[in-house]
Symmetry: D3
Subunit: 223 residues, 6 copies
């Protein structure tokens, strides 16, 4: 088996688990190297440093459960990503891509949260099929509960998966990892509750022929 390097770009700690917790657990259980790049977080001035530190420590517990190989935190204050010049944000993400030389890059779908849009844009630049980008076999965008489904229907892009990954054997790890994010997860019927995450996985899975699944929108596959 060829070991693949998989880079998952998360706007904030928890997005990677919400969108791809089962997929991370699956890939790592198969021996692949999964790296997480967390771009932003609940940092001053809009949030307290403590808020951020809590989410990072929650993230590290989640990453351990899921079998993440490496993680990088760019520590850009949430909702202030637009204050950084575009070329600087691009450079930061480019550098990580150049270091990791991934076979697969999974990024957030551009949605209600402006950070997701700006990071999506930079990810699109960093994964262009030039230089190190020519070695990326697949670029895809994942959905994030409570943001992706709040895009305005038929005005903004609406998520429809063209790739579903069977996570039937990994749903428990996904939910366990999600439970680590005590500061982020809400009680049912909250849009980011454990029950909502499980329901989405069951919906995506059953419509694709298995029990639980995670859906992605493939942007570029090169073979």
């Amino acid at each position: 088996m060829t070991v693949k390097r998989i880079l998952i770009i998360a706007p904030h700690p928890d997005d990677e688990t919400l969108g791809l917790g089962g997929t991370i657990a699956k890939f790592s259980s198969q021996g692949h190297e999964v790296s997480i790049l967390v771009v932003s977080g609940h940092l001053p001035p809009l949030y307290k440093q403590d808020d951020y530190d809590i989410t990072v420590s929650e993230a590290k517990k989640a990453f351990k459960i899921l079998g993440v190989s490496n993680s990088h935190f760019l520590e850009i204050p949430a909702t202030l990503i637009g204050d950084i010049p575009v070329n600087e944000l691009n450079n930061k993400i480019n550098h990580v891509v150049s270091d990791i030389r991934p076979h697969m890059v999974l990024c957030p779908y551009p949605d209600r949260h402006i950070d997701h849009r700006l990071i999506f844009d930079s990810a699109m630049v960093a994964t262009r099929p030039v230089g190190v980008g020519k070695k990326i076999e697949i670029v895809a965008a994942y959905e994030t509960l409570s943001e992706t489904h709040w895009n305005a229907p038929h005005i903004e892009p609406n998520f429809t998966p063209n790739w579903v990954i069977d996570i039937t054997n990994h749903i428990e790890k996904k939910l366990d990892a999600l439970r680590c994010y005590k500061s982020q997860v809400s009680e049912f019927p909250g849009p980011r509750s454990i029950e909502a995450a499980e329901a989405l996985a069951k919906f995506r899975g059953t419509q694709a022929g298995f029990g639980f699944g995670e859906g992605l929108h493939i942007i570029r596959k090169l073979s």
Copy 2:
């Protein structure tokens, strides 16, 4: 309160419950009149008459649970709807609309099943804002597990709801009604399993701010 007449057009018995079981239970519990028009069914020559009779008797049990006021069965053989001249199918559906004079018409989303597409087309003709159609306050399309989500992404239209109905207090009736369709419902992880239907309702609901919901695509609202 004004009693509203609501017409739900189902291609085959069970589509109304899959798509709108909770909504039917909700509307009927509020005193509104819900009529179901079942256009097609598992009839000869492609199916045995017995197959059809079973689904009709299942439907009648389900309708009772949900509180359906009236039901009409047009008895057109499934997957052979295209054999009927378009103007005849239009006439059949027009007649029902003219008889019921509904305030609301809910029809299937045009999807993988060709019957759903042809019935959608006829429903669009029958609900034009002319004649009896001028009194229709809302026309919307509902999703059907295992057909709507099999439309080809980004080639065929993909369902994104712009209307979610809170069925938190009616989810049990929806699932009970669905259980009546023993001949149609499959075991988990089947795409039409009880678990899949519950998961979809939980996903739609939590993303809209409540526990369980049913999603629709509004086509025309007149106020």
Copy 3:
């Protein structure tokens, strides 16, 4: 009858009348409370303070004709909205939504005018189905003559209404209110002339089964 609180977000004074003058008159004649939030205006440094003051006094006359209950002016200089940090603009609009606790929010369609896009984005954040947003029954976007129809066809989103409100009995008030905006309205065949506004209303109305109408794009309806 339940009195509804309706919040209309206008980028600049006159957008609310161009898009929804008849609807405002209708809702207020029915006893509902209509609040207008005017976000921006022709303010220094790009415009003279006098220019702004004139449009505000025109707006107040128009609001009186239409029966507006409350109005709020955020006084952000037009075309400079992008200079405000996104989170501040979001906060300003959030506060108004929290104060009013509306049952309905009607905002501009994202179009040629960059202010309309930025305000649309903030309105989408403020009306998410969480907290006070869970009580909003409908979120919809209205069209603005001379901006909405200048979106690039098939590149940017193009307005097609899925909700038409019958304003046949209120068209005169709409046009009277529009005439108050002497500084904004141009002579026929200007794109914002009285004649153009009347023609659009007649076109939207007749295609929906009545004399005059105003079209909206429903983004989220919760029932």
Copy 4:
């Protein structure tokens, strides 16, 4: 000046005037040759022969007002176009295109009326850029009041013009020609009333910088 041959394909008599009456008058006043191909009509068995004969005689009066050079009536019964094998319908339309060798072909937008869709499909085949099709400089689709605007928003294609023709000097002829269609035109606020047609022309025109206009969707321009 080069005289251009312009072919307008009308599903039924009156569609050409509703969609392009001003354009026909303009082109013919400039000395171009405008040919009308009327594909279908209110013929037996669904309609009486008399119904058809009336619309044809109305059409001939309208054509005279507009300055039409030639007209062809294929006499296929309305709403039964789908009964003709696709290759036969294609052949019929191909033959007319081959005979006329047009510089411009204007066809109906595929909309609520199934005849419009089938004729659109055949027109797309007949105008492919091969053989006689290589000489066609522009292929475009026009809108038809009361059918084009009844396409389901965001499920079926929705008309947005990318070409507007100034008919300010020809609006009277358009409305006069439309008045010839006594059997087809309804009183205001009917969706095909004279007032509705005038309102649409004023709306299209003012948004494009002139008084009255007709909108088209350009499909292929070759230069």
Copy 5:
């Protein structure tokens, strides 16, 4: 290496080579089993039997060059596919899928040619993620010169690849196979000329980071 079974559905002989000649050569050179299902052809009554026989013998030469493992010819007359009841066409294609149990199904993009649309529809039914369909790892649609690029822009779906296969080492075989289709290929600048096919491959390839490529639209990937 796991040998994969790849099923390519071609509406008519030559579509498989135009769309996927390089991909077929690549997969077969890697040891995979490539099966071609040719659904239709130039058969009586619209064509002479001889016409058909020629294309079949051309196809067999092309298949040999490309290394095709198996081929099936359903022999349905071209442009008359719509005369077969939908359920029969579905059954025919279903049977082939059931026999081959493919890991990958590549079908035509629904485009200008009505046969391509009907076959696309049937392929979508045959590859649903149920039964044998659950073992299909990827379903994708390929482009066909002179048909796919004649879809009406912004009315019908327009092809944009999300998967590009590097055929740099197989472009010569693709062009050689295409040259076998003497009865179908035209001289430059014909839309199906060897030069056009090579240009498309070079365009798709260079935009994806290599010399020559073939583009596909992924419909469903299951992992």
Copy 6:
């Protein structure tokens, strides 16, 4: 013949030749006046002044080959366009449009490069059908190799031409002009290689009925 003034807006030197080199050569050979507005360039602080000077001198050679009448360089640093207030960028482009009073404006398609998007937005404002904009007969967007085809499929707008200009007699000039841009053009299989540009032209041309072509997306045509 009426001499037309054609304004081509290029984000950076070479975009005009990549997208429209043949068209420029054709229009200028026909006696029309072609003006190029180059908005941005490889300027300090992100690039060295020398880098910029080289591209300008390359551009001037290319313009001479193509027969460009006038050129304007706004000299805004590349990828920093977003640092300029929107109203200033709009003013700069407005001024050029007002000076030239063009009959035709051709601008970049909004794509992967953020400069292209911002310039597209400003071009849309500058060409609105008001004032000098009422005299613009056509506004269209051209494609740029290696940026336009890197838009995310089915999330961002994807280029499909509705206008193809026959450049068969001008392809050599286009490629010669492109060769002037030594600092920008890469060797085959680079995405901006001479071979890639020629392949795209051959693909666009052959699908439109001629040898070589350049594709555009028409945004607004006024007649």
